[in-house]
Amino acid sequence: MLGGEIFGLLGPNGAGKSTLIRIVMDIIRADAGSVRVFGEPRSRAHLDRLGYLPEERGLYTKQSVIDVMTYLGTLKGLPRADARRRSHEWLEKVELPAVASWRIDRLSKGMSQKVQIAAVLLSDPELCVLDEPTTGLDPVNVRLVQDLLTERRERGRTTILSTHHMNQVEALCDRVALINRGQLVVYGDVEDVRRRHSLPEVRIRARGTLPPLTDIGEVVEEAPGVWRLRLTDGAGPTQALQALVSRGAAVESFEPMLAPMEDIFLRVVREARA
């Protein structure tokens, strides 16, 4: 991983994502191998520079929101007054300033989720691991969390995001790793990965109809005036565009198609199972 990026950790259920995260956070020890953090062998001295939102998470239900957030802040090495001040600030950021004095068990699931995210981020950790942070949030709050993560990246903070929401990966992540049964199967820059795993397809927008292109590939009409062309072996996008123009098509736009992350995920996992 590189500093200052949002890194997507992907994989099907049971692939070993949470186990890997727990090993990175030194909650469980690996049978073999080693972990390096900030360019050094992982140690407990790094605790205060790391943030972690586990998949199986919760808060002290009988305590007030502000007390729990302050406590978790002090556990990250913040002075108590600073932790309390930051807790209030972060409650503002997650649009929950009114719940500071509420007991945790009074919060709705979504509220509790946002409070937990705020509690993790209030110490401004250099590296933060978020395991399914948006599960249970409505689209508005998903966007809120995405904005918070983007803001962290702009400040040079690094985030590991474990999620099953591939649209979030495409929207947020700079690089990804996809693991299956404990093995790394895909790794790299998101655009590169999408390009590498894309089928040879192009999307064409044109007025009127398309001329015959059977020698170039298979045409499928997606919508009026929009076609997808799956190229035959040996045919490339340049050849396809030349054929369209030379055969009189009124082309308005022509774009090679990148495979969605979801398709890549499904394909890679199915191939691995096969």
Binding site: M25, I28, R44, L50, P54, E56, Q63, V120
Partner: protein, 442 residues
């Protein structure tokens, strides 16, 4: 020091969140209130019954065929009951204590009857509670016959004692001098006890002093056990709640398991101790009158034992707490956790169980062995120091404390590993093999 820097934050959170719990507040302040109410419910009727019986005199008849009491009317125990010549003799001999004893606030009244038939009629008619017959040859045989109703109460034995004193007074009156009469009436006016140490020193061995020497270590043991049991309860509750609330991984990603363990132990231990301090304060406030009594009895407080109490108490508390929390966290639920931790409660109670042996032989082989065993050393060193500090060598105290500190350190590390394994295994209890495997990796 940085190794333990998260401990203050954890202990403060644990302490404050525990003492704010309604259950804690109810137990802390409700328990003395409940005990007070219970005592009142038991004591108030008993007090009024006592007042009632004190106000009513118990009348017993006397049929004096031996002619030794010379009663002409009811004789009530009072200063006037003592024959004048005996009173003068006692006063002249400075035996005021004997006079006080004779004029104690007895409520027995002796009523003369001419014959047994009239006394029996009075008994049947409930006019008297019983009667005594002094036969003509009483002086020779000393036999007195007592008659009471079938439903005789406790006053019958009081009346018999009173009759003895009454007979002694009347028999001695005018026959012996004051000092001799006083000794016959009150043979042992006071017992002064002394204890001789192995070094040959004589020190106060009075019953109060002896009691205090026993009470200090006993109080230590009881306090210690109470702290262990109550705190372990809070620890189990807290750990179960963290498992249930799924806060565990967040904690473990922020602090080391031994920091969490130490913070919890100290925070919850302090909450447990605060509870005991509140109870003691209430008890002391209620029984503040005992202080002058102790001062008047010239009680020798075993300061050595008191001074040793703090380091031994705190170290032993951390030792047992680490083990209890570590093993308890392996349980999959609260009940299982308490069952697992029970073994340590029993071990902590071992000096109490062996108390008879320790009292008989405070410096015997058993006591000496228990001094060096970390599971028992805290209580046993305290006990031996309080009983006879001269016979407990300084190196025994220092050695026992050293071993206890080392053991506490080991227990803390072991407890932390078990704690970590237990917290992460939120489902069924892990097998012994799994525990060993994870403990090696942890």
């Amino acid at each position: 020091m940085t190794r333990w820097r998260k401990v203050p934050a954890i202990l403060a959170f644990e302490f404050l969140s525990t003492i704010k719990r309604p259950g804690y507040l109810i137990t802390t302040f409700g328990m003395p209130l409940f005990m007070g109410l219970y005592a009142a419910i038991v004591a108030v009727p008993a007090y009024y019954a006592e007042q009632h019986s004190a106000a009513e005199s118990s009348v017993f008849g006397i049929v004096d065929h031996a002619d030794v009491l010379h009663l002409t009317s009811d004789a009530r125990p009072s200063p006037s009951r003592i024959p004048d010549d005996l009173r003068r003799a006692l006063e002249a001999a400075g035996q005021t204590r004997a006079i006080e004893q004779l004029t104690s606030d007895a409520t027995i009244v002796f009523r003369p009857f001419a014959d047994e038939a009239s006394a029996r009629r009075a008994l049947v008619a409930r006019g008297i509670k019983g009667y005594y017959v002094l036969p003509p040859d009483y002086l020779r045989d000393g036999v007195v016959r007592g008659y009471t109703s079938e439903s005789a109460g406790l006053s019958e034995s009081d009346a018999r004692d009173e009759l003895r004193s009454f007979l002694r007074e009347r028999l001695l009156g005018g026959r012996v001098d004051g000092a001799l009469a006083a000794r016959v009436l009150d043979p042992v006016a006071e017992t002064q006890s002394f204890a001789v140490t192995r070094a040959g020193d004589v020190r106060d061995g009075g019953s109060v002093a002896s009691i205090v020497r026993l009470v200090v270590p006993l109080a230590f043991m009881v306090l210690f056990l109470m702290s262990i049991l109550m705190t372990s309860g809070y620890l189990m509750q807290g750990t179960a709640a963290e498992k249930e609330n799924k806060v565990v991984e967040v904690l473990l990603s922020s602090a080391r398991p031994d920091e969490i363990l130490a913070g919890k132990l100290i925070g919850l231990g302090a909450a447990g101790l605060l509870q005991i301090v509140v109870w003691l304060a209430i008890v002391l406030a209620a029984g503040v009158g005992i202080a002058p009594l102790l001062l008047a009895a010239r009680v020798e407080v075993p300061w050595g034992a008191v001074a040793l109490a703090l380091p031994f108490f705190l170290t032993a508390f951390l030792f047992f707490g680490s083990l209890m929390l570590g093993t308890g966290s392996l349980g999959s639920n609260m009940r299982e956790a308490q069952q697992l931790a029970m073994i340590w409660s029993l071990t902590a109670a071992l000096p109490m169980i062996m108390m008879a042996v320790l009292i008989n032989e405070p410096h015997g082989l058993t006591a000496r062995i228990m001094t060096w065993v970390p599971f028992t050393s805290g209580a046993v060193v305290m006990f031996r120091e309080a009983i006879d500090p001269m016979s407990l060598a300084w190196w025994e105290v220092a050695g026992a404390l050293f071993i206890l500190i080392i053991s506490t350190f080991v227990a803390l590390r072991l407890g932390a590993r078990l704690f970590r394994i237990g917290l992460l295994n939120a489902g069924a209890r892990p097998s012994l093999r799994e525990i060993i495997r994870q403990a090696r990796l942890a």
